[in-house]
């Protein structure tokens, strides 16, 4: 035993010759870091749902602009505040998404709507159903905001357009033009004079609130301008198209009468065009912009903009913008943070102070100063620079933290001992280990960015409408103004978009964070 260091090799033998111990091979497949993260992520139901909702919203933002003929630049003041309508519900008896709203009015209001419905044959009052309060003062019914526009004001069109509409009427059989009322028979007050919806006789044409005159049966009496067949009046425009009184006119006291469909005035012909049909004619025959009929899926705003198109374009802008800014911030932040974190010392101190001062400038000041200096040329650029200028600081801070965490670990020291260069150590050895946390913050930064963009457009500091797009914030601001007009739906859809997006991004981001960093699980909520 005294010569224990010098035992000859041949004296050694295996204790169990037949039973060699081998390391058994793993029967499971190796799981990489990202595979593991993905598996943990899938288990988190909330995060998966969040991811799906985000995907749907992104798809909406990408695809919707291609499927709607409307654009943010489109507006039609006549169809301002029309309610959301879809063909799915428009003809059903469900009082939802049908382009109608509940209307409570007095008898005069009801009669006016009824008169419009009788003349055009449209359901201005949905299904013709209404309820009267017990004392008979209030009528309530579903009022169709599309048909309720009726004729709007008397419209003066050129003779060419007048003829073209007649051609269109003859070809399609759709009645656009209706008989006009003789000027002498119209109400006298400025307010009512040009109202093309009043085609009936009224009790007193000289008062502000007109009451329709009713005959013995309680029916409205039409007040059309009629002329005897063969009688030529230089004021009446020639008309050879659909007539609501029939091909042969009406017989009265043995004479044949026709209605006048247009009145010659300076600069054209004054007509009563039913706006719904006129709109279809305008967009299909004249503008040919792909709009087939007035049908606004999410309704329209105060200025008659289509909310669906605005929201789709706004969302598309928000997503693209946030992603681009986030990528720019990511690149700069990662480079800045890795240099600052890896080298430490004086460099770190200087870089930190610089970022600290830059980060202390409120974004609103940056945006305003940029806006002043760059004029109103490109608000998108202003927004981009402002968000980029201070946005990368957060990313740099997180990267710096990761570098501090890993830079003194043994494998990094080993790499350095083996002669790896700084850049290689930074981006080959340290960065991939911190990637999970950094990617997670990328996902959490996007909703924040969209929200601040929304805030600035809401506040009106940035206005994207000039650049033929719009923003969710602008829509929300319009929605807030519409509250007074009892048009809550204007704000509803942009708000829903914003809430859904924030909620799902939060769930998704938290799920990512938990998946990439299981030890952090649940500490922050």
């Amino acid at each position: 035993m005294d010569n224990i260091n010098n035992i000859p090799a041949e004296k050694f033998r295996f204790s169990q010759r037949n039973d060699l111990y081998h390391d058994s091979k793993f029967e499971t497949k190796p799981v990489s870091y990202f595979q593991g993260a993905f598996r943990r992520f899938r288990k988190n139901k909330g995060a998966v749902v969040g991811g799906v909702v985000i995907a749907v919203l992104v798809l909406f933002a990408i695809l919707a602009p291609f499927f709607t003929p409307f654009t943010p630049a489109y507006y039609d003041m006549v169809y301002a505040y029309v309610t959301p309508k879809t063909n799915l519900f428009a003809n059903s008896s469900i009082d939802f998404w049908d382009g109608c709203r509940n209307k409570e009015t007095n008898k005069i209001g009801y009669l006016k709507d009824l008169a419009l419905a009788l003349e055009t044959g449209r359901e201005v009052i949905k299904d013709g159903e209404y309820t009267v309060s017990e004392d008979g003062s209030t009528y309530s019914y579903r009022y169709d905001t599309y048909y309720g526009v009726g004729f709007g004001k008397y419209k003066i069109i050129s003779p060419e357009e007048f003829n073209d509409i007649q051609r269109y009427q003859n070809e399609t059989g759709r009645q656009v033009l209706y008989p006009v009322v003789k000027v002498a028979d119209r109400p006298t007050l400025e307010k009512n004079k040009y109202d093309a919806n009043i085609y009936y006789k009224v009790e007193n044409p000289n008062v502000a609130t007109l009451r329709p005159k009713l005959d013995a049966n309680g029916e409205i009496i039409p007040n059309y301008w009629k002329y005897e067949a063969g009688d030529t009046n230089s004021l009446i425009a020639e008309y050879n198209s659909l007539r609501i009184e029939g091909e042969n006119g009406i017989e009265e006291d043995g004479k044949q009468y026709f209605y006048a469909y247009g009145r010659r005035v300076d600069g054209g012909i004054e007509v009563r065009a039913e706006y719904y049909e006129y709109y279809i004619y305008q967009h299909n025959e004249v503008k040919k912009d792909g709009i087939e009929e007035p049908l606004f899926l999410f309704g329209t705003t105060q200025t008659g903009k289509d909310i669906f198109a605005c929201l789709a374009y706004g969302a598309r802008f928000s997503f693209i913008f946030a992603t681009v800014v986030a990528i720019a911030n990511f690149i700069v932040g990662v480079i800045w943070g890795s240099i600052s974190g890896y080298f430490g010392g004086k460099i770190d101190l200087f870089m930190e102070r610089f970022a600290e001062i830059l980060g202390a400038i409120p974004t609103i000041i940056v945006i305003t100063l940029l806006k002043y200096h760059m004029g109103t040329a490109s608000q998108v650029l202003v927004l981009f620079i402002a968000f980029f200028l201070t946005g990368w600081i957060g990313m740099a801070g997180r990267t710096r933290m990761q570098f501090y965490r890993f830079k003194n670990q043994e494998y990094v020291l080993a790499a350095r001992t083996l002669g790896a260069r700084d850049v290689r150590i930074m981006f080959k050895h340290i960065f991939p280990n911190g990637l999970g946390t950094i990617v997670t913050s990328f996902a959490l930064v996007i909703p924040g960015m969209i929200y601040s963009e929304t805030s600035f457009t809401y506040l009106g500091i940035i206005n994207l409408e000039a650049g033929n797009t719009t923003s969710v914030g602008t829509l929300i601001a319009a929605g807030q103004q519409s509250i007074m007009a009892n048009a809550g739906y204007v704000a509803l859809f942009p708000c829903m978009f914003l809430v859904l997006m924030m909620l799902s991004f939060n769930l998704f981001g938290n799920g990512l964070r938990d998946a990439f960093n299981p030890s952090l699980r649940g500490t922050e909520d």
């Binding site: 202390a360 305003t368 809401y458 500091i461 509250i483 009892n486 914003l498």
Partner: protein, 335 residues
Amino acid sequence: MYMFKYVSKRLGLMLFTFFIIFTMCFVLIKLLPIPTNALPGTDPEIVMKTLEGRGWITNIREGENGVWYYDRVPILIQFGTYIKRILTQGDFGIVTTYGEYLNMNIWQVFVSHLPPTILINIYSTLIGVPIGLGLGILAALKKNKWQDQVINIFIILLISVPSIVLALMIQYVFCFKLGWFPLTMSTSNEYFTWEVFRSMLPAVFALCLGSIAHYARYTRAELSEVLTGEFMLLARTKGLTRGQAIYRHAMRNSMVVIFPSILSEFISVLSGSLIIEKMFGINGVGGLYLNSITFQDYDFFMLLSGFYTLVSLTAGIVIDISYGFIDPRIRMGAK
């Protein structure tokens, strides 16, 4: 002594940051064309003379067709004049383009708009902080029971639903549909009457929801971490009841982190929220700021930008410094 050094270092850094931002702002503003075009109804000569009197331009002379020529004063000299006037006379300039307050002293206009902003934020802090703390404590004490889960869902909803949407919902439901409150805040100056208070309530409500969620979440996380500490077990072993142990040991320890943020909240009441102020038509500093941006009233913009920057910097530094004062571990460790 250590604390003094720490505080003065932090304060110095803060003032340095503020000075840099303020200077940068001033220079960038002064690089813009001077708004010399007179508002309709004012004499261009008066406008020119005013600008000269402020020290922005010099050597004015009238050319043909009422066009005025002038030389610009170097920006550094302008900055010197500006700072000197602020320090010696407290004079931030007069309103030049913001129509409503034309030719009034900027500082006075600013001060007259402070009360609504401060009041609304103080009310919301006074309501929000106790409720938030209470909910957070309840959730931490009943961790993983139904109370905790309900509060948690509430918190996640409040945090995820943006304040812009929350405020709009409050305005729509309570002000418009139910008609309990006026749509916008009353413009009266009698801030302590019931009418004005009532008109402030929706804005207060909208503001405090955010801070409720924030404090509830924060308190829950802190307190539930402290509660698992071993010293809590020791306290119970010593014979303290659960209530005593929580009140004397857990609460105090968790407050070390929460209290500074309450302090900074009281500093931030000065600045408030631009979105809430716009939405509820509050006649406060936020509205002034937005309008000064729209009207391009540069002196006004300078004052308000400086103010907002200072408030946010102070709120940040209060957190840092109060940590040092409140936490005995930091205080003792320094000696």
